[in-house]
């Protein structure tokens, strides 16, 4: 199953990048730099989406005591965190030529930073607890608290931002050129499939790690031999 996701991801990446770089026209206001959008936007969207999925799996694990759910949550976290980081990095590099500074304290970027902190907290808490069951359940609770808080945090940051009037990120005028939209969509799918692929491989490792002492794992190696 994993190869299917990996290859689809690769195909969409190629398609998206081709559309984004070669077919889409130069933006009137932002010049060539706007092409960063094709990775910045998918990274942002996915980092938020993954957090919600992660919290969802975590909640399932907490409520129904299903171990696999918790393992999925743990598997999603690093990918989500890395995407949040990429969102910030590409956002900064997009911001510098556009608005003259590496960082703009606008609502979205600041919320993305906080999201990164939430991811790191989740990973850190899970890593600090030795007992896997307690680790799963504690970080699950944290993820749930976090996801409930995210709307509150986003709202408060927006509030904070409108008072300290700073630059606001706007897209290319009114509507986006159709080719840009297609490129964006392709890249979005590409990153999504990539994230799924990474998560699946990771969860397989986690399963093996947790179940390493069991019969079926021993036999699995048997089959491989």
């Amino acid at each position: 199953m994993v190869p299917w996701f990996s290859w689809s991801a690769a195909i969409f990446f190629v398609a998206g990048l081709y559309l984004g770089f070669f077919v889409a026209p130069t933006d009137v206001q932002q010049g060539e730099a706007y092409r960063i959008m094709f990775i910045h936007v998918p990274a942002s969207i996915l980092s938020m989406f993954i957090y919600l999925v992660m919290a969802g799996y975590a909640a399932l694990g907490l409520i129904f005591n299903t171990r696999l759910s918790s393992m999925m949550a743990s598997a999603l976290a690093p990918t989500g965190a890395l995407l949040a980081f990429l969102s910030l990095w590409t956002g900064a590099l997009w911001g510098k030529p556009m608005w003259g500074s590496w960082w703009v304290w606008d609502a979205r970027l600041t919320s993305e930073l906080i999201l990164l902190f939430l991811y790191i907290g989740f990973i850190a808490l899970h890593a600090s607890i030795e007992d896997p069951r307690r680790a799963d359940r504690a970080s699950a609770l944290l993820a749930i608290i976090g996801s409930v808080n995210v709307p509150i945090i986003y709202f408060s940051v927006q509030w904070w931002n409108t008072l300290h009037q700073g630059a606001t990120i706007k897209f290319t005028g009114t509507s986006m050129h159709e080719v840009m939209q297609q490129g964006l969509l392709a890249m979005l799918l590409a990153v999504w499939l990539y994230a799924i692929a990474m998560t699946l491989i990771r969860v397989r490792s986690i399963i093996l790690e947790r179940e390493s002492k069991t019969q079926w794992v021993a036999e699995l190696m048997e089959v491989k031999r």
């Binding site: 770089f21 730099a33 990775i39 690093p78 990429l86 093996l208 390493s212």
Partner: protein
């Protein structure tokens, strides 16, 4: 667009390629880490199994 223009990105080269470069780097690092983790656990299991005595 010629190749030269493509790389220059109208003066925004550092930003655009800095972004995509980091993306590529992060993706590569992630892939390596994930595969390494899997290889490590598989190796551990093999070791355990052999020690368990066949």
């Amino acid at each position: 667009m010629s190749w030269a223009e493509f790389f220059a990105m109208n003066g925004y080269a550092w930003y655009v390629w800095g972004s995509y470069g980091m993306v590529l780097l992060v993706f590569l690092i992630e892939i390596v880490m994930v595969r390494h983790r899997r290889a490590r656990i598989l190796q551990q299991i093999l070791l355990m199994r052999d020690e368990g005595g066949d």
